[in-house]
Symmetry: D2
Amino acid sequence: MHIMEHTTEFRVRYAETDQMGVVYYANYLIWFEVARTEFFRERGVEYKKLEDEENIYLPVVESYCRYKSPLRYDDVVTVHTKLASVGASRITFEYSVKSAALVNAVGWTKHAFIDAQGKPIKVPAKVRKIFEEGN
Amino acid sequence: MHIMEHTTEFRVRYAETDQMGVVYYANYLIWFEVARTEFFRERGVEYKKLEDEENIYLPVVESYCRYKSPLRYDDVVTVHTKLASVGASRITFEYSVKSAALVNAVGWTKHAFIDAQGKPIKVPAKVRKIFEEGN
Amino acid sequence: MHIMEHTTEFRVRYAETDQMGVVYYANYLIWFEVARTEFFRERGVEYKKLEDEENIYLPVVESYCRYKSPLRYDDVVTVHTKLASVGASRITFEYSVKSAALVNAVGWTKHAFIDAQGKPIKVPAKVRKIFEEGN
Amino acid sequence: MHIMEHTTEFRVRYAETDQMGVVYYANYLIWFEVARTEFFRERGVEYKKLEDEENIYLPVVESYCRYKSPLRYDDVVTVHTKLASVGASRITFEYSVKSAALVNAVGWTKHAFIDAQGKPIKVPAKVRKIFEEGN
């Protein structure tokens, strides 16, 4: 199984800094979400349509981030995303946040799959397929 | 008609600052929203229930803010809120953001009333009543 | 004087939505800021360097936004930016937020120029030049 | 050593919800920060003054959150905060986010101590003292 990372690139927004002069720590979780959306899109799955057309939702059940080196306003950031594991009803993404050659942060999020009523459901076949084909 | 202002008090969050060392300008609009919720509650209207139980929504159609003096992390802020005008299908709130004796910002938001399908509706009687009694 | 608009494009983040299912109104001000940064960059002025190297800051002194049509998660948004006026110590940007052929919002921000001590300063020559050449 | 938790209470802001109708996951980290500030204040340490007067900063080096039960707009939330461990140059806070009798989320943040130049420093005596006296 070969692993292809997905990469999302953007610039740090002024709004994302705090008075320490660096990116406020909660914003990394927002970037993880942006990266997940693009990860899915590149593999032919539009997360928006999962919600709108199939009533499948992926709430985060756990999040973790290690902040190694601060990012600043206007830095060009890339987030590298991998589907790290897929269980019966949970999936885990791993992220690496980089600028230039530096790894600024690493983290992961674990997700459940639920329906519109909030009831847990199995990982949909199309998502499982992404993992099995190597993501 | 006597005018009673509603006052909401809180402290500036670290997350609300930016690298200029002051509160980022978009956060004032978030505070206006917090103040609106409390304004309604004090007059016996829970905005949450308007949405959940009556399918009435108040999207913002215009916002304005004038920033007079910056606020900083941990400052104790009060937002003074008034229902400035009520039309057939629009209402306008006015806000004054203060810390100690200083007026840090003033602004207003204009709102439409819509139903769950996004269709414009008249200002509900209970909201109109707040205004007529003097808010 | 010919006017060239600058255009910034991005997708709506999940984090930018609220429970009404549309973009929360304060986020438009964040997008205006992203658009300003890119407006300057395209004209050879890095706002980051204005702050870091020249100790020139552009705090917002007024903001206005009219919300015409809601935006949703994953929509592709473009913000069109113009330098609308330049006074002795103030400048005003105008923004138009679009998706497909629709204008979703319009707004403006007025800025002062200050130094690192917060003292008002004149609009720097390089910023004035952008306007005079037609922005 | 007796352990006294600190409790911070507030209501969920509309801005903190997303289109799933619940609080967006990154906001829990913002609440952790609000809770830390109040934890310190209650023990006689103003974090603001640590930064402003002593040039001591507490950047987050790791964060973790487990989301157990979603929170909604206008919910009354309490965050319970404990200083879980104090090392030579690192401290860890633990948080429990509750509404009514329910535990909605638990998490922790690990912090370094640095000076104004970003150089790591030892945990200051006054912070160590909080821990030794039982927090």
